[in-house]
Symmetry: C2
Subunit: 455 residues, 2 copies
Amino acid sequence: MKPDSTTCTLDKALLPKTWYEIRADLPSPPPALLHPGTLQPLDEDALSQVFAPSLAKQELATQRDVEIPQPVRNLYAMWRPSPLVRARRLEALLDTPARIYFKAESASPTGSHKTNSGLAQAFFAKQDGISRITTETGGGQWGASLAYGGAQFGVEVDIFMVRVSYQQKPYRRGQMEVYGARCVPSPSPTTQAGKAILAQNPHHPGSLGVAVSEALELAMHSDNTRYCLGSVLNHVILHQTIIGQEALVQMELMDDYPDMVIGCAGGGSNFSGLAFPFLGKALREKKSTRFIAVEPLACPSLTRGTYGYDFGDVAGMTPLLKMHTLGATFTPPSFHAGGLRYHGMAPMTSHVYALGLIEATAVTQMASLEAGVQFARAEGIVPAPESCHAIRTAIDEALVCKREGKAKTILFNLSGHGHFDMQVYMDYLGGKLVDEPLDEAHLKEALGRLPGVGV
Amino acid sequence: MKPDSTTCTLDKALLPKTWYEIRADLPSPPPALLHPGTLQPLDEDALSQVFAPSLAKQELATQRDVEIPQPVRNLYAMWRPSPLVRARRLEALLDTPARIYFKAESASPTGSHKTNSGLAQAFFAKQDGISRITTETGGGQWGASLAYGGAQFGVEVDIFMVRVSYQQKPYRRGQMEVYGARCVPSPSPTTQAGKAILAQNPHHPGSLGVAVSEALELAMHSDNTRYCLGSVLNHVILHQTIIGQEALVQMELMDDYPDMVIGCAGGGSNFSGLAFPFLGKALREKKSTRFIAVEPLACPSLTRGTYGYDFGDVAGMTPLLKMHTLGATFTPPSFHAGGLRYHGMAPMTSHVYALGLIEATAVTQMASLEAGVQFARAEGIVPAPESCHAIRTAIDEALVCKREGKAKTILFNLSGHGHFDMQVYMDYLGGKLVDEPLDEAHLKEALGRLPGVGV
């Protein structure tokens, strides 16, 4: 389909048939996931104790193209291919010679890119004969997406939602319940991990690391139940590559190609989902594209963390993952982008960062919300606070282009809308927000408690 | 563009170039708007004192095709043509031979069909040299849409939001403020109309009728300011016909045609916006299509109201409109579909109802929410409480098809999503909602206070 000059909505017939596995194009493989007791690499069988077997297999997949099952493609077709939009009004506002494009993952039924993996994980669980899946959620985008997947494929869904988000964003819980899922605030008294934390502090605000421990414990102690993760792992990034797969075709239809690909990065899946298909092409065709992961200055795992083996959760129940990490016991200061409040960065994203294939930068909450309001007024979509981080950097790069008089092409991922995050905008516009600084002593302590496992 | 069998997204090149004015195809014209003092029909000049002159002109337009200005079309192209979706999963769930389609107006940047008119009204105001526009909003969909329009075209926007909605849906106010508009709860102490009502009852919950009075007063007492209305008037319905214009083409591409066209009806613009282009075709080609306006049993202007001249607001500041009305002083019992809490029905919609060209039905809040949850689990989109009314009737008609073994084609308007309405779903799922009955004595009293102006 011939796009107009502003929005490219691909013909549904061009919906990609495969996800993209970047292992196939990397100069070296990423370090293995290790068993925390034996420190031996985990194989498919071991991973299948925790995850649906099909997902365990995908976690270790090495072939470049992984087929998207037809039932998942049919559901993707509800809103995918998602629009690729040239942000002409934002360009005009900035008076920049740069061409700014964004991929509108906000168009998904649950409001973010998370749906891409939520549907896939629920499908594979059902196909593997699993009757219940458990997960954690921060801002609620992931919980809502898996709940939607569960409703579609007939799998029960139990969700542990970080307590502070559960209180800040009550309507996300409502959304999960409309889809038929159960959602409890974490830490909860329903698990040993939750009980232990509540015993120390009955008012513990929760964290993604705690919620992961609870969801994992419930899965491992229940019949025919498996755990699902919304980011960090390879199979999640794999599902998210649908974003970049589409964008590659759409940029070609727009007769343009990005000089920079930008995404916000919490666990790493939305950034990598957009970036990896472009990175693979850059590696194969020796293109010099810049890839910029944008993280919050208050939770800067790539820019301030250590690259080493760490747990994915607080209780130390996950496999050991080699990643950029602030330490599993790190709790960031208060800020509203719940999806970016994770202590670690996806092993695959950390690996390509270590290889020097991508860049990272960190921005403040205030600066990102300023960019978000500017974007909303220009382009109409109120972005999720997470996505505002990507917008901030896209605008900054466009302003560099203006200063240098260069007409570069910038592509960023609008990972979701902010309909469930209006309180943060109201606080921001009402002058009630300040940037809370990182607690350096706490970071130092958390980094000191890494398990100390070598490569 | 060839659609797949489930979702039809039109090529942007096929975005309609014109809105559709149904006057051109009706057997008789609708009764005129009258000056409340002289009882004479209002002409363009008189209407231009209240509305932007271009909109006053549209209000009286008689030609079938009204050109959509290119700047408005460019903005429409952000999300339009909106998807036409075959609700296959809902059909399967109901086990019905009916084919159910919905037009996903939920895809708009502000989340509802209101954006179609919000952008248009702000554009025409700016073109007419007007620097500020005022309006009322109930559920907030309209206020957010006009705020977005104001941000796009550089017009100041002042919004009076029904107090009970302002409190129930704080995040809608946040959305308006992100777009740069001002939003105050109504009744407010900033107008004479608001002051008078607050003097009687400082805790008055507000109503659309009161908010209209306030917005109108502010517009009429300020320089270079005009009033905008989000439904009811002809020019608003005109802008909403983009929905039906697209659906006509999309149904043809789907190789199908509706036996029934269904929409929820508050002021009448989303129902009419979808229905009128099909109704015009039915009139021209003598097709026997059913058109069903669905209203809440708690605010049933078509099914329980009188067809006569009434004011559009509580203070009696608007022109007199001949419409189905419950009386301008009628206040419905508590229910959450803020967009359906209006005492009157659009004069044009009332006119085609009086001509016997459309049907009307009324459903309860509980029954509509039950349908909404069923729809969300099947089709992924959490519908606005208003839209749930249309879904209820679509499901009921599909179940009739099942009983009768008839494979009819049902098309309904999904006028918006429910992301700002999760509290009502949480209350519904938590067993906290009941249907409050209509106060018959209050209705009788309100109907007794109609101005009593003959045709």
